[in-house]
Symmetry: none
Subunit: 239 residues, 4 copies
DNA sequence: GATGAATGAGGTTTCATTCAT
DNA sequence: AATGAATGAAACCTCATTCAT
């Protein structure tokens, strides 16, 4: 500051680095965090996998927790906004729309390395409540909102029957997210790997069939009708 | 309560403790493993929560990994066998049967502390492949088999349409397991807690409606039929 | 908390330990902190000198800073209170009283290992402001108060001339403390060690001679008189 | 720069820089060493405060220890030689001379940033014995010699009583140095800052009053005479 | 059987030092 | 001459594991 030596244009170059080199570090960290969990990941390994020394990590991240937060934040893909636009412009039938939203989520996020973030957050949410909340608000809720918009559109246009939108979104999303989780948890252990395309196809089939089901009183019998309202929480066993 | 002796009248016969005591340790370990993950759990805390000293742990378990394995193994409830019997004896409609199986799973396992095991295994499966495989074979597959039996029964009896049983089981189970996971991950972070009964109700409604849907060519259009599960994996976007 | 096993009376026993074994650790730490400074002291060395392993340190002190604080606090000798009593009961001449207070401080504190604390605090006060303030209030000020009481007594009884008590205490204490500092700083470097007894004798001689000096206008010339009031801060050079 | 051969002819041109630039570095280093101590000072901070990069430090100093030594050596002001001359030429009364020497020391050294060197050396003398010895011989002893000369002159001219010159110098210097130490140690912690002018005034008053005290047998009683400095080291307590 | 003090390997973090530019 | 990214040795600290009581 007082010396003429300190170039005034240094800062930008620093910042630039913080986005260039760190990318490799974040990628390495993502992989390891997903694979080993937060506590099980050694910074030594992260650095090694990124091809740098342990100390270099600390040039870009204050500490392990900071790195973890950065990994979560940086891995949050933003195709949600893009998909949201598509919904607004779309004019075809709602079932195709919902299918599109689901398939796009899978290809853009669920089937990606970033998809492992879901598993990571699931496992570490109680250790990092703040980040969990961040993930909930910035990732999960927007994505649920997308599904909700598509379903609600179908109901409003008379294409879908009237269901509890919120709950349908929850359960549909659950099915899909589980596929992501499975891929990076039991996937490698299982003898025959899961067929993702078939899984998604079946999920769509199930939910769309249910949503488009018209029969006022036929397929849905008493049991089903009772639960359809969702406001009920009674329980019955066939015994 | 008063002296360092753990219990007033327990002292006399120690022999039985060898098998009785670990229950408290396993319970404590389960809670902590689920909450903090394997690496994040300190044996100190486990012992403390179980009300014993750290050294006592080593009287019953060789080491941390041994404790972990024991937790997983011991927490595996065996009501599955019992439920399997019920299915064999049952004679009513298949939708009620499926509902029963699902609700029983939730009350006996998913809604239990042991339900956290799912989250735990999900997070640690890559660190403990053998245990993951054990869990897959001893817990997941039998439980999937149960659902498969119920669905197949419905199809055979003409109550359900013909679907890809395997995949329907996968997605149905996914939805349900996700409820377990949510409860001990994002649950505590979320503003309004999830309504488990409604969630299960909606899941049953969706799957049963889909399974009982008859209309050969009406709601399910070409797209759906293609994905219905007949081993196809075609993909289409509304674009 | 939930378990009946945790005896409520364990705490005291822990606390007891915290004063038994830690004594050796505190002694070792004191020596090293005084010798090497805070940053220059390795916990490994402290433990080694105390004959225990590194980890044992952490059974008794949370971290390095905690150990440091404990060292300072524990080394604060309490002979000040005792000396204070003696002053109240004393009935002889004030010069002998002052001499006693000074000599006692030296034998009980300045000449002790704890005397090194002065050097330590001097060096680290800017790194640990809170501890510096603690030392200032709990050690330095009481000790200054003792000297002030003795001097004020002499003035009130007409044995000493009227001087700025506060400043006389400061400068007298400075001279003495410096002896402590010297002992554990330049002392070992100097060819011929300082003669502590002679040093203290001379200090007493100087201050007592000055205090008992009666000459209204003789020895103290203009220069001196000007400074005696202390309220002046003028400066003059003999040039 | 180009070949592995370390060209010895590259250096010549930069010789001057080698002596010019370090001034800023030495100033920065001095401040930090005084404030944080040797081990507690990071070269990063030194460079930053001097407005250069960390690597630049190594163009001028081999390593941290080298920098430290340079700081001590370069900070040793040479006004002592100058003051020594003044003493030789001086012809007035000895009390004024001593006062001059004392005040000059304060304004030229004690009140300077370099005054912090005393604190620094005190703290690090056991870590750097060679430098401590250097400081002792090159700084402390000459300065003590100055005071000794002034006092001895007073005794020889009959202005001062016969005292142990050596010890009087020690204790006088101690009082003064302590003021320097206080300023950069407890000074910032203390509620009301010390009044340096008053402190020096009182010190001069005390020592000059003592030195000029004539009364052979009146104020100074047996006790005092015994300790007066005549190489005796007897000790007595009023008990 | 039970304890908890003690250990030390291993992880995180810091920072003096180097080197390509 | 100057930079600042990169390094790795060494410090702090944690915690699974052992063992005398």
């Amino acid at each position: 500051m007082s010396s003429p030596a300190t170039a005034p244009s240094q800062k930008p170059r620093w910042e630039r680095r913080k986005e260039a080199r760190p990318a490799e570090l974040l990628a390495a960290a993502l992989q390891l965090f997903v694979e080993k969990g937060y506590a099980g990941t050694r910074l030594d390994d992260v650095a090694h996998r990124a091809g740098v020394s342990k100390g270099t990590l600390y040039l870009y991240f204050e500490n392990k927790e900071d790195l973890f937060k950065a990994v979560v934040r940086e891995s949050v893909v933003a195709p949600i906004a893009e998909t949201a636009e598509q919904i607004g412009r779309y004019e075809g039938p709602s079932d195709a729309l919902l299918e599109h939203v689901v398939r796009r989520w899978w290809s853009e996020y669920g089937d990606t390395t970033a998809g492992g973030i879901s598993k990571l957050m699931m496992a570490e949410s109680s250790n990092f409540p703040e980040i969990a909340r961040f993930f909930l608000e910035e990732v999960i809720e927007p994505w649920h909102g997308l599904l909700a918009t598509a379903i609600r559109r179908g109901i409003e246009r008379g294409e879908f029957r009237e269901v509890d939108v919120e709950m349908n979104v929850q359960t549909l999303a659950a099915s899909l997210v589980m596929l992501s989780l499975w891929k990076c948890s039991f996937g490698p252990c299982s003898a025959r790997p899961i067929d993702a395309a078939a899984y998604i196809g079946t999920t769509l089939d199930t939910f769309l069939t249910s949503l488009k089901s018209r029969a006022p009183g036929s397929p849905a019998d008493a049991t089903e009708r009772a639960n359809r309202g969702v406001k009920r929480s009674g329980q019955r066993s066939p015994r």
